[in-house]
Amino acid sequence: MKAETGYESTLDTGTFVSRLKPQGVTLFATGLSGFLLLLIGLPVAMVVLMSFRTGFPGENVPFTLQNFATVYLTQRTYEVLLNTVIFTVSSVAVTLVIAVPLVWILMRTDVPLKKTIYVLLTVGILIPVFLRTIAWILLLSPRIGLVNKWLQQWLDLAGPPLNLYSLPGMAFVQGVSFVPGAFFMLAAAYRSMDPSLEEAAYTAGVGKLRTFLKINIPITLPAIAAVMVYLLMTGIAVFEVPAIIGLPARILVLSSLIYTSTTPSTGLPDYGVAGAYGAVMLALGLVLAFLYVRIVKQGKKYTVITGRGYRPREIALGRWKWAALAFVFFYLSIEVFIPFVVLLWASLLPYLQLPSAEALSSLTLKHYIDIPSHVGVRPFINTLILMFTVPTLTMVVSVLVSWIVIRSQVSFRGFLDTLAFIPHAVPGILMAVGLAYLGLAYRDYFPLYGTIFIIVIAHTINWIAYGTRTTNSVMIQVHRELEEAGRVSGASAPRVLGKIVLPLIAAGVLNSWIWIGMLSYREVTMSLTLLTRGNVVVSTVVWQFWGSGWVPQVSALGVILILFAVVVVGTLRFAFAKLGEVGGTS
């Protein structure tokens, strides 16, 4: 309260009261920073703490360097580190090669069917990565992969030409699955680009493709670099693809090591070793975060020059339209259609089989009918709780943080901004392990272990970074003078926030809200790490079904979830078309 009244001060600058009141803003900002520091710092501190300990959360053991010795005096750790780097970098490369042209086609040209493509892209995000991975095994496995079999017959080869069980294979599957996320992050940069920058190139006698390469890509390079670094951070932490494709072929990355040390096949979890692996992950993440902040700062310079009275215009593709559409649909087929068809196929079989006449004759709807008795209601309720509380909490925190960062003159607003970004540098699996440790070791102070709310907290922390990035950019677009005009009209600061700022940023905030809700819905790594009987969510059910080998059941569930998502996302998108891209970042 104190803080809010304090913020009014800026309206009546010059009066006696105003000399005291800015401290209110500072106080509020300090409180917010403290809160975030605690929220983000505690799990991270737990990771550090556990890396210096052996034994189990709650056991009182002396500090030791033994874990670090175990981890960093082994050559294998460095091999794994190298794998991690190769895997992450090449995944992101695959993503960008697809995402950048895709963004250009959808944001800058008159390619048809845009709305449908948006919906499909969003649906792509909702297909859990490991379901998609299973589809790819059926297609690209050297032994059973259909594509391999066809190619082998067609080209008359001695052996299977493609091997999914390799770093390139992993990078392909992972990279493709990053595309929708990258797309929505880049879309903002491409949408806000002054079209005359492209047109200037055309009038300089330069063709469309060359313009794309020489103008679009370099101008959006800061944005692309930012997305790249962002994805690198994500890539270090992902674990589904390494678990399903990497592990069988003995290709380990850091996240699979952390997962196996906290969920070993035999014996008890080794939190200490997980923490020691986590330390290097954390270090990598922080370095990348530093890089990200720098790139974004650099990129701002580029945007200063553009702007000023242009209207977005689409480039007429002419007969290239079909080539562009073909590219988009090629991508959509590897992202959405093929996985979906494979899932549909698998869900209708008594057990997983490759297509054959015999398999065709055994199709059944049994698995769909059995879903309620297999899954129960609890996971759905929990997932709904996640989908509502996580985005709400995240957006509330993000709006407040952005308001301080963008609008106030508080001296440490840069620190607050960086702080809000840190969660992205901390791999989700690590954050979750830290929270689990916290919940187990300090149960009295933090009695949330085993409840859905520990997942809510994990997710909220994780997406604060994303949330503040979007609210920052949305808030910047609301010209300062609009707010000042409100204050000059005599409205108090909270009223200005409520009546002017919020309505103006509503569309952007709603977008992120929906987006975070969907990410929360499909997130599996953190939910899995924090899984107990009380907080099962749909994504972890799906994962466990897969682990138990219930592929047809998983597929049936997957098909239903995807159809559900198509309906929801499609409705939202078409209904709120005027609010901008629902489901996309703004």
Binding site: D194, L197, A200, T203, A204, G205, V206, I219, Y302
Partner: protein, 357 residues
């Protein structure tokens, strides 16, 4: 050099279709500086962008340098990059990721009108000298002021020595003083290289000072094409008269073959053909053509009283009320009239223009 015939273009937007161009005919001769003048939404920018190939017209033909570049009927559409043109944009469109040199060199190294590698540096230097930016080659684009960006945009457009230069409100983002300065320079440069220019603006002063020919546009049509002095002195329609420069309008009606009746009396002015007696007309006269003389006692002149005076330094704008009609009068700044003063008002008959309606 540029020939546009019956150009039509429609935009389909969220709120229905907008007929942006409704049959534009335009002919710009070699070396000519042609200005498209009009309020926003009149279709001037769309016309320019059609010529550039940035928009696709639905109907009509565009010829550049004798080559047909756009004709939906003949299924011809030459893409922008293959048209022999250059363009300066309203936002300048300076590529922020390149320095000045690379911005200007871009059309030479990447474009359709590429030149040998060893000539690039020299040509860029020449272009920069032309816009008086020599020495700034290494400056990053992000470190340029508005005026400098404008010059870089000019240099980039000139560097290929194009036959045709298209400019879309290039001066509108500059502040007033700089705008006037650049206007003069622009004229000099285009004349120096003899480029055919199509120039879009909503600023009539710019149009009159720059153009060899001014096309006044409204509602997707061209209302008048004429040299600037003619557009100013003999506006073809009431709209043009209203749009170009200041004018006093007086309602009246036709009283005879060369007689117009209005609040100022019956004036002996030729009436445009086709107007019968008693049809309503609007009389128009420029403020600078109204003469005031406090000493004049001649019976032909009218008597008025000065109601406001607006002193502008070099000139003074006065409002005079004559027979209940308020007339704007432009006098030299040192004219000694004051508010409330009675004066004789002379309205030279040959300065009146008569428009139907």
């Amino acid at each position: 050099m540029i020939r546009v015939t019956s150009l039509r273009k429609t935009f389909v937007g969220l709120h229905g279709t907008v007929r942006a161009l409704q049959g534009i005919d335009l002919d710009v001769r070699e070396g000519e500086f042609c200005v498209l003048l009009g309020a926003s939404g009149c279709g001037k920018t769309t016309t320019l962008r059609c010529v550039a190939g940035l928009e696709r017209p639905e109907e009509g033909e565009i010829e550049i340098g004798g080559t047909l570049v756009s004709s939906p009927a003949k299924r011809i559409f030459v893409p922008t990059e293959k048209r022999d043109i250059s363009m300066v944009f309203q936002s300048y469109a300076i590529w922020p990721h390149m320095d000045v040199f690379h911005n200007v060199a871009f059309p030479l190294t990447q474009g359709y009108r590429r030149v040998a590698r060893n000539q690039v540096a020299e040509k860029v230097r020449q272009a920069l000298r032309l816009v008086r930016l020599d020495g700034l080659e290494d400056r990053p684009a992000t470190d340029l002021s508005g005026g400098q960006q404008q010059r870089v945009a000019m240099a980039r457009a000139m560097v290929t020595e194009p036959k045709i230069l298209l400019m879309d409100e290039p001066l509108s983002n500059l502040d007033a003083r700089l705008r006037e300065q650049m206007r003069v320079e622009l004229k000099k440069i285009t004349k120096a290289i003899g480029v055919t220019t199509l120039y879009v603006t909503h600023d009539q002063a710019e149009a009159l000072s720059l153009g060899d020919k001014v096309c006044v546009m409204d509602g997707g049509e061209i209302l008048q094409v004429a040299p600037p002095n003619e557009v100013y002195a003999r506006p073809a329609s009431l709209f043009v008269a209203q749009f170009v420069g200041e004018m006093n309008f007086v309602k009246g009606k036709v009283a005879g073959p060369a007689q117009v009746e209005c609040a100022l009396g019956t004036l002996a002015i030729p009436v445009p053909a086709g107007l019968s007696a008693a049809s309503p007309v609007t009389l128009a006269i420029r403020p600078e053509h109204v003469k005031l003389d406090s000493a004049d006692r001649s019976p032909v002149s009218l008597t008025g009283s000065i109601t406001t005076k607006n002193y502008l330094g070099d000139t003074a704008l006065l409002e005079v009320e004559v027979n209940g009609v308020s007339l704007l009068v432009k006098l030299p700044g040192d004219a000694e009239f004051s508010v409330g003063q009675k004066t004789a008002v002379t309205l030279p008959l040959d300065r009146w223009r008569v428009f139907p309606g």
